[in-house]
Amino acid sequence: MVRLLEFAGKPFVLIIESFGKVSLLLAATLAWMIRPPYRIHEIFKQMEFVGVNSLPVVLITGAFTGMVLAIQTYYGFRMFGGESLVGATVALSMARELGPAITALMVTGRAGSAMAAELGTMRVTEQIDALYTMSVNPVQYLIMPRVVAGIVMLPILTIVSDFIGIVGGYFVGVGLLDINSGIFMARIVEFVHLSDIVNGLIKSAVFGLILSLVGCYKGFNTSGGAAGVGRATTQAVVISSVSILISDYFLTAVMF
């Protein structure tokens, strides 16, 4: 009986243990944000990697998300003559939900996985130990800049995604489906409030924290050579994506 309970409880113990370790890593990262040296150069380097280099994929996914939303809502709304609301629906969906979520999932696949792979390789080739021996704290040198970049760049990418999604929706709605341009825009102005956009951006900052912290945690604690790096990368993407979608629900429930 005890064995059965042990067996059944083990996954929960592991989850709670991991959660505790990630929380400790977060606390250490936050502490290093306010302690010098501030690693401005490293932070900008990571902002370029997480933000600027993710721009093409965010532009493409954002545009097509807006376009497909416009088509779907158009055919739905046409049934009761509500085509004029397509613009507002696209804009609201992008700002409140799809902009932050799609951007976060894309950046997880591109940058979160790269963080896990890079730090994991540094761990198994003793580069992280080398930092310690040179009296440089790896949390401050490697993890803090990545987490700051995640928190800062995700909202910026989300703004881009929101905008390009609406542009995509406009292109399909006005250009292809003949919705009146003035009505399309007027409904957006009427229904989308600043709070919708701001709350979406707050969500995306939280997603940025999740994907960078999980990527760094998995990479930093890699063991077992090349196979270990592969495992860490996969786990980082899966755990980040699931955590982003779960936290999305709770954040949305609280905010809207």
Partner: protein
């Protein structure tokens, strides 16, 4: 600087790696710790530089017990260390020059020109020229180790640790690295601690040799003393004999 370990115990789960280990490393000398692969040599080295803390016992660096220091104090002590890792552990996102300059940039306020000068000097010291702009991936194993040593020497350390420096090199490169270790010690006067299972290299470079077995130092002394040790474990290790009596030919 003197290194002293007293009653150091370390276990990972059920596996006891260091068992009440005592060792004193003489200052300004080359001490080589020999022992079987997986016998805890790297763990011992990581205790000395504070990467692993002992379960019990103490690690003294010049009479300071580093096993009780906090991270900040430990970092101060580590500035006296240089370490050459087994695979050199160069930062592969940086050039050779940036790798060697890294500890100098982190811990001094020297100008770029001054740092460049030191980098050139340290690379010359390990026998490398015109490699500052190259990436570590472009270098051979032997060259990477030289760059690793140049980086370890960047802050003029008083203690230099070598983690299996000749592993994975051909006999010529091995000899090169051996000479480099001796030359570096003579030039800097640093306390050098080498861990190795390479017997030829050990007798070529060591002032003192310690044999680690079963979590303890079972023999310590001059290379001559180790060569003529009566301890069967030491004897077998030096002669390259497995503990099994069966001849290899019997398996064929």
């Amino acid at each position: 600087m003197k290194i002293q370990l007293s009653n150091v115990c370390k276990a990972f789960g059920d596996q006891v790696v260091l068992d009440d280990l005592d060792l004193t490393v003489e200052p300004h000398r080359i001490t080589v710790i020999i022992g079987e692969s997986g016998g805890g040599k790297s763990v011992l080295l990581k205790h000395i530089i504070g990467l692993i803390r002992p379960d019990s016992g103490s690690v003294y660096i010049d009479d300071v017990d580093i096993s009780v220091l906090n991270d900040r104090q430990l970092n101060e002590v580590r500035k006296n260390f240089g370490m050459l890792f087994q695979e050199a552990a160069l930062f592969d996102s940086m050039t050779v020059g940036e790798n060697v300059a890294f500890p100098i940039r982190e811990h001094t306020r020297l100008s770029k020109e001054e740092i460049d000068g030191i980098v050139e000097e340290k690379l010359r010291q390990v026998g490398l020229k015109k490699v500052t702009g190259k990436m570590p991936a472009e270098l051979s194993g032997g060259m990477r180790k030289r760059v690793g040593l140049a980086r370890a020497l960047a802050l003029n350390p008083k203690i230099i640790l070598f983690d299996e420096p000749t592993t994975g090199l051909d006999p010529i490169r091995r000899d090169d690295i051996d000479r480099l270790i001796v030359k570096t010690q003579q030039l800097t006067g640093a306390t050098c601690l080498v861990i190795s299972h390479d017997i030829d290299s050990t007798f070529k470079i060591a002032h003192k040799v310690a044999m680690l077995y079963d979590g303890r130092i079972i023999e310590y002394g001059s290379p001559e003393k180790i060569k003529h040790s009566e301890n069967p474990v030491v004897k077998n290790f030096i002669e390259g004999k497995s503990s099994s009596d069966q001849r290899l030919a019997d398996y064929v």
